[in-house]
Symmetry: C2
Subunit: 255 residues, 2 copies
């Protein structure tokens, strides 16, 4: 999914503060197809996108694009691969609060804040486009359309976080997993990929963390959904074979 690293630079897979490889400019797709930045602008304002998106960074699996506490100067748009947003507590526990696949924006939660609130960690070898916050704000001040789009993105993110709160607080384990899979499916569809068959880029542990469960529970639930003919699961390959059955899990009889 990612072009191989140039020879000479050893590939560290463990999370390390090592500096990442930055290309000089993002790909043309970023401007043409809205693939990198989910923002639609009138033709005559498209030029500013070139200004906003300044570089592409390549991350190895497990590396952090940014870390909680760091000053915010960039946002990131996922160009290839996928990332997770992780919040940590002083006592060392941590929880995943979001996943980001290609075409989605990361770091929005930290927009206009001094420091990042989460770690942004690559789930696999990935690429992200850097977006300078200052430049973005400058352009946004001049373009109401751009500003409005950004606010829409932030609003969506907030609504999403509230839905997550609902899921974690009110849903049972099986419902949470069903919601997670349907959400992922929907996002792949938005990317133009198959909504029924996809490969999970995160471990059972990651899914469990996101859903407020333990990895054994997630594994058991996957197995159960497979047995019930709702999914075909083999390792990280998933195929939704009975979407209605999966959807039905969201409104359990007990409530």
């Amino acid at each position: 999914m990612l072009v191989s690293v140039q020879p000479g630079e050893p590939m560290k897979v463990m999370p390390a503060p090592s500096r990442r490889n930055a290309a000089a400019h993002p790909c043309e797709q970023c401007f043409q197809s809205r693939f990198c930045l989910p923002i639609a602008l009138p033709q005559d304002e498209l030029a500013c996108m070139r200004d906003i998106m300044q570089a592409t960074v390549r991350m190895h699996k497990g590396e952090a694009l940014f870390e909680a506490g760091q000053p915010v100067s960039k946002l990131y748009s996922v160009h290839a691969g996928s990332f997770k947003s992780v919040v940590g507590s002083p006592d060392g526990r941590q929880q995943i609060v979001g996943f980001h696949v290609a075409g989605e924006l990361m770091g929005l939660e930290s927009f206009a804040m001094r420091t990042f609130a989460t770690d942004g960690v690559a789930l696999e070898d990935s690429e992200a486009c850097e977006i300078d916050v200052g430049t973005l704000e400058r352009h946004a001040a001049a373009s109401p359309a751009l500003l409005h789009q950004i606010h829409g993105l932030i609003g969506n993110r907030l609504a999403c976080a509230q839905q997550n709160q609902f899921a974690l607080g009110s849903m049972h384990a099986e419902e949470r997993l069903a919601r997670f899979l349907l959400d992922l499916s929907q996002r792949y569809r938005a990317r133009g990929l198959s909504p029924d068959a996809f490969v999970l880029s995160m471990t059972r542990q990651d899914i469990a963390s996101y859903l407020g469960l333990k990895l054994e529970t997630v594994s058991r639930l996957m197995t159960r959904l497979h047995r019930d003919g709702i999914l075909q699961v083999e390792q990280r390959r998933v195929r939704i074979t009975n979407r209605d059955g999966l959807t039905a899990l969201l409104a359990p009889p007990g409530h």
Copy 2:
């Protein structure tokens, strides 16, 4: 806490779509003391606040200031009393995702979105200042300082939502309650009120919903904290008698 309603208008306590009582203009405090709108601007830009904050609405306990699905045209700043933000699901379950006391902004999660994502319901008889979104956006476009402050507020709200996700997904019941009480305490302190003694404006049921628990569990935990000498609880009056003990609950030995 709220001036009495004028005679002649019957007071409905049950949640009803009845129209609320709107005063012509917000109080002077809103501009002078940043009490109503937690935004600080340079002196020469303060005038626009008068433009942004157009009216004060009075809500009775249980009434909805706005409802999920309604088109967004106003934000609200709590002037007196308190509110809860509630998300609902198709099957009728609902969960509280936030509380708002005087001096805090509501509806931010819906900024720049077409429709509200939550219900905003008064926990007691309350007052809120209406803020016209269009006017606010227009002023923000002209004032980078104002825009930056708004983004900061939104960023805070998002960070808060992520912390809630962490709490719901990773914390035990007792920790969640401790966090809730300390958070509330901190917000009362920010208002200039006592951080140690306050009156909960929400029911046990509300607290339980917010924390992803059942009301019986919340009640039992309150009793336990009282027995352990950490709190004095009688009905909704709470006094924190051992803040260190309360804080210590946030980092349990088991983890």
